[in-house]
Amino acid sequence: MEVQSNGALHYQLGGWAPPLGIEYVVDLMAAFVATVVTGVALLVIIAIRRMAAQEMPQRTGSFYGLVGLLLTGLTGMVVTGDLFNLFVFLEIASLASYALVFTGGPQAMMAGFRYLILGTVGGSFYLLGVGFLYFSTGSLNMADVSARLVGLEDSRAVLAGAVFIFVGLGLKMALFPLHLWLPDAYNHAPSSVNSLIAPIMTKVAAYAMLRMFLNVFPPGYLDSVVPLAPVLVGLGLVGVVAGSAAAMVQHDVRRMLAHSSVSQLALIAVGIGLATPLAAAAALLHVMNHAVMKACLFLVAANVRYRTGDSSIDGFAGLGKRMPVTMGAFTVTAIAMVGVPPTAGFFSKWYLAQAGIDAGNWAVVAVVLLSSLMTGVYMLRIVERAYFAPSPVGEPGLPEGPTGKGLSTATRQATATEAAIDMVAPVVILAAAAVGLGLANAAVLTHVLLPAVGG
């Protein structure tokens, strides 16, 4: 709000002026994304407290330390105005997230290792790209670089820089086909970690990508000189369909949500790639909407796993009766994901479709709307199971079960009830936000997002 009234905030680290010093710039777009990231993180952290205590009993101290580092990294990425500084914060956040994924224990090793390698590759590509830009312009400050790039459209170094940055950030935001690390990482990490990383980490990478498109490279450069914008749109469209299709065939709810995230992030990529103010605003709107919705969904999955020890889709049978508040919130959020008005998810797609129509790109319109239907398929399965499938019958005579927690999974499923209030309340708040943000979306769009992208 301060940014709205007073204009962008600038801070120079150590009093060193740019281009030598590191400058932090909080303009409307950065303020918006930072608010979303920290707001969602707050709700998630409240909700995962008990789960974290259960999943890693001896190491909660280091867990919260890593969480703090993660948030520092992510927020730093959002508020920095310096290209190299962004890399530093990107690495801080990534390293924290690798460590958090590894807390999942032995099964997380392979997936976490792959995540680490691919993530480092992504970060390194970004760094290489920044290197090329530094080499060509002599500066690392974003505003400065963008001014200096204006005459340099023919430079091969700048072209290489653009492509490296694109691939690096694309990997970090799970753009098709660089997304394969995501489902595995989210599957094997502990639920508490998932719920935190999934909604916000890739979003910040998407924000960085948008920043490059809007504020660093000269307008039109990424369209006509190096056609990265159309490539982004194309890969995004494929990612939407591929992610949704993969989500439809999963048996584990966490993997399903991970593939769904790939699909939704691809929608954001399409918005960034279309490069019009409305498209970019739609992308930012979806950053917020998806963060809220995915946080809610992952928290529901976490709550269910906390109570039943199981995260398979079949394990949702009968939960509509026994965990009514949690499943109610899930249903509302599922409807929001499908994109039924007046929920938030509808409006991201609404503006994206309009942007597609404006650009004459009918593939965008078709894919955006098709994604609603595909989302309906994979979300509906869970709603159906929860409300219409009969609950499993517990096995009374078994004191020790395969999960080793004293009761078999089936018995826990049969007797599960709502999780504690501090786990359920954030879920409800996020679900309510999925509707409330939808109703209020015009205000957000006109007062925050469109001015932020210069529309």
Binding site: V338, V340, P341, F346, W350, Q354, E384, A442, L445
Partner: protein, 493 residues
């Protein structure tokens, strides 16, 4: 046309929502819960009816809420067309609620609270559809209607019900997607999506754009209006409890689709544009085929509710065809048919449900002699059947007469012939049921009517099917409203 700002259209939409909340909170006290439902129905119809005097004197009553998308508000506006649908849905809800109590308790159905809550929310959505002032608000409530009726379709939780629910969602959400695409397109063309009699697309000249919009919009609303080939969700949805089939799938949901055609053909495209494009012939073609095919298919179906479902499919296309007839008389007939068919068909469904609740019989072939067992029910069924066949002075005769005149108005005797043939077919698939009911049966049957909760509403609606034919302006002034729409929208060629 003068427009008055008032909160009453919004209240009419919110009253059922408030009722749903009260019902949800009373689940442990069934009698209190039922009382809340009945009270809500009465309050809702009173709120809707309170708008009648303003609208019949030529005004419209609106509530404008906040901006939902830049340049487009959530807005409700009660005009003549909206009043017809709103009054139909809310007044028949009173009857359906009384009926539901008898049916649900008679069959000792489970999850009754969920049923009443979803029912109330569906009616709220239907009234929202009726009073939507622009395409975006319309789409909002249209999709809400889909969602709120889904738990009613899958209510019994049997595998068949779940499958029917999936099919229902697949069809209706796909239609919704087409609607959303069309609306997004219209907004991006900088056209104000507020409904206006005579159309809003006069600024659009590109023929490809117009035809694409036509295709998308008709696909979108054609699903709920059960225009072939988008109709097959409706017979499957008959797996729901009969109050659902009666009110929602004979009145609220399907009439929302038909009403959608009223809005799109009359208030988005406009008759003049449809003539220019030649689009009305395409619509007339699909509607005409549906009209006849629905009736033909109904002839051989044994399951009573499914037979009535195909009859509904046929009659919805009476209305859709009416909106393609372009002239004022045709439009008046189409809107009047919405009411006539609603009242008459709900009677037939009420009877089918009463029979099922009392005897567990579902098929026509099992109904020998049922008239002796349930004379009031079958009497109402007989009356309604006469109405469906278009026998004067039932209301269905009046609306069919106007539709026929409308067809001649635009010089299309083929369409008149279609209406006449279908009328005969109606008799052919309904009269045999009545005759069967008074045939001697193999086992002697004693008098054993369904509960008064069911018999009273069906008698009332059967009587209305007759009385509204003799006095079409009785009560809610349906004829005046329909004629007003016809005059506003119809274009004499």
């Amino acid at each position: 046309m003068a427009d008055v700002e008032s909160v009453r259209p919004l209240l009419a939409v919110l009253a059922p929502v408030a009722g749903a909340l009260l019902v949800a909170l009373s689940s442990r006290w069934p009698n209190l819960r039922e009382a809340w439902t009945l009270l809500t129905t009465v309050v809702t119809v009173a709120l809707v009816a309170s708008l009648l005097s303003s609208v019949t004197s030529g005004q419209t009553v609106s509530t404008t809420l906040f901006e939902l998308s830049p340049g487009v508000d959530i807005a409700l506006r009660a005009d003549a067309a909206g009043m017809i649908f709103g009054l139909l849905a809310s007044s028949l809800w009173v009857a359906a609620s009384v009926y539901s109590i008898g049916y649900m308790r008679g069959l000792n159905e489970s999850n009754q609270t969920r049923f009443y809550v979803a029912f109330a929310l569906s009616i709220a959505a239907a009234i929202g559809v009726a009073f939507a002032a622009n395409l975006l608000t319309f789409v909002l409530f249209y999709e809400m209607l889909t969602l709120m009726t889904y738990p009613l379709v899958t209510h019994r939780g049997t595998p068949e019900a779940i499958k029917a629910g999936r099919k229902y969602l697949a069809y209706t959400l796909s239609g919704g997607v087409a609607l959303i695409a069309a609306t997004a397109w219209i907004v991006s063309l900088d056209v104000d999506p507020t409904f206006r009699a005579g159309g809003i697309l006069d600024g659009v000249t590109d023929s490809a754009t117009l035809w694409s919009l036509f295709a998308l919009l008709t696909l979108g609303i054609g699903v709920k209006a059960a225009v072939m080939p988008l109709h097959s969700w409706l017979p499957s949805a008959m797996v729901a409890p009969t109050p659902v089939s009666a009110l929602l799938h004979a009145v609220a949901v399907v009439k929302a689709g038909a009403f959608g055609f009223v809005r799109v053909m009359g208030f988005v495209f406009g008759a003049a544009l449809l003539v220019d494009m030649g689009a009305w012939q395409v619509l007339a073609g699909f509607a005409g085929v549906t009209l006849i095919t629905g009736s033909i298919l109904a002839l051989r179906i044994d399951n009573l509710k499914r037979r009535l479902a195909y009859s509904t499919i046929s009659h919805l296309s009476y209305i859709v065809l009416g909106t393609a007839l372009l002239g004022p008389v045709g439009w008046t007939g189409a809107l009047l048919h919405m009411v006539a068919h609603g009242v008459t068909k709900i009677t037939l469904f009420f009877c089918a449900g009463a029979i099922h609740a009392r005897t567990h019989k579902e098929n026509v072939s099992e109904l020998n002699g049922i008239g002796r067992q349930m004379p009031i029910t079958m009497g109402a069924f007989a009356l309604a059947s006469l109405g469906m066949a278009g026998i004067p002075p039932f209301m269905m005769f009046g609306s069919k007469w106007l539709l026929g005149v409308g067809a001649m108005e635009i010089d299309q005797p083929v369409l008149l012939a279609l209406y006449l043939v279908s009328g005969v077919l109606n008799a052919a698939y309904l009269f045999p049921i009545v005759l069967r009911a008074w045939r001697p049966s193999s086992t002697p049957l004693r008098y054993s009517e369904a509960s008064w909760f069911m018999v009273a509403p069906l008698s009332v609606t059967a009587a209305l099917a007759l009385l509204l034919g003799i006095f079409p302006d009785m009560g809610f002034k349906f004829y005046t409203l329909a004629a007003a729409v016809g005059d506003a929208v119809g274009v004499t060629p």
